[in-house]
Symmetry: C2
Subunit: 213 residues, 2 copies
């Protein structure tokens, strides 16, 4: 599974890239910079072309978190991304909303940045366990830290794992492919001279890496 | 200092409450539900009446976090709220943006929900230290956990501390007043029959509690 991270702020560019890459991309991931710049309507618009994962890194108290999830699903998102470090009660509230929309909830076990090692890193495993217990659909685990992806896969069992950090952030496909169900790629696709070809190639490389690793 | 938490999704209601309470409120705090519902323009509109704290609980990788802060400040926010849990590098990037706008950065040491005790609670002190080292302006610490507010004050030294959780969330003013510079209050004001009188009374009680505690 290839998820296109639309880390852009222009509506036109976003729609253009999604149109160009649609044959090789399984879902698109939007985050706050594009949604704040273009308005929440961009989620609806993109959802008419591809499944949309609203990467809102939800990290608020349960009630506010449920409102954020509600807005995402109501506007056509197929899934939301929440943080796990804010606690089990937050994930439970978000799941209640997701169930009303037949939507999915992915939980971040740890971000790809170095600073995430300070706190989140030591809880990646525990966060994965909680996400599983609460019934969330999947996890987001950093390709920049392959040892952690392996560790998270051990406890995640059948949960879906999506992994960002391949390419511009230096994560290596061959180190994580066997542990994950999908990769999240942004710059290597939308900054390519030929985004369609870039998406095709990355998807092919991922599938090959899964078979041979 | 009294901060009004505008946990609403209606632009008209938000503007009405801010107008009614402006004599007793020092700043308004907006979060994602209202901004996603009304568009980022609501920040600009409110900032023409009162200082606005963009409570975006920023919790992404450094680059994305800096983009979110940039959008908030560009639209008139006086301050942003970031999580500290995501690591020092995130706070450093956000601070660079804040400095360009002469804006403030508040860092959440721990949320008010019970689930926040699972992970964030044990790091509240450490997060406060990092926020101080990075040069952030202040901290957000939960009135529902007075023992933690006291602990955070010890390390925060001269950093400003704002505390949510009084009122509807059952935090007690007399237990935290002496440790904090301001309180963040939402429902007890905007759901009151007379929001102006509610704001006046809460502000007076806070000031009295600070003097007597």
């Amino acid at each position: 599974m290839l998820v296109l991270a639309l880390d852009l702020t222009s509506r036109e560019k976003a729609l253009e890239i999604v149109e160009k890459t649609r044959d090789f991309v399984d879902a698109v991931k939007v985050n706050y910079p594009i949604v704040l710049s273009c308005g929440i309507e961009i989620v609806k618009e993109l959802s008419e072309i591809k499944r949309v994962i609203a990467d809102f890194k939800i990290a608020d108290i349960p009630y506010t978190s449920s409102l954020i999830a509600e807005i995402a699903f109501k506007n056509g998102a197929n899934a939301v991304i929440s943080h796990g470090f804010v606690g089990r009660d937050v994930l439970e509230e978000i799941m209640k909303v997701a169930e009303n929309y037949d939507g999915k909830v992915y939980v971040v076990t740890e971000l790809t940045n170095e600073g995430a090692r300070e706190f989140m890193g030591q809880f990646a495993r525990k966060i994965a366990e909680i996400a599983k217990e609460v019934g969330c659909h999947g996890l987001i685990a950093p390709a920049t830290k392959p040892e952690r992806v392996r560790e998270v896969r051990e406890v995640a069992k059948n949960l879906e794992i999506l992994s960002p950090g391949i390419g511009a952030q230096k994560g290596k496909l061959e180190e994580i492919a066997k542990y994950v169900d999908g990769i999240i790629v942004g710059r290597s696709i939308y900054n390519a001279d030929n985004p369609k070809e870039a998406a095709r190639k990355i998807k092919e490389e991922f599938e090959k890496a899964k078979l041979t690793s």
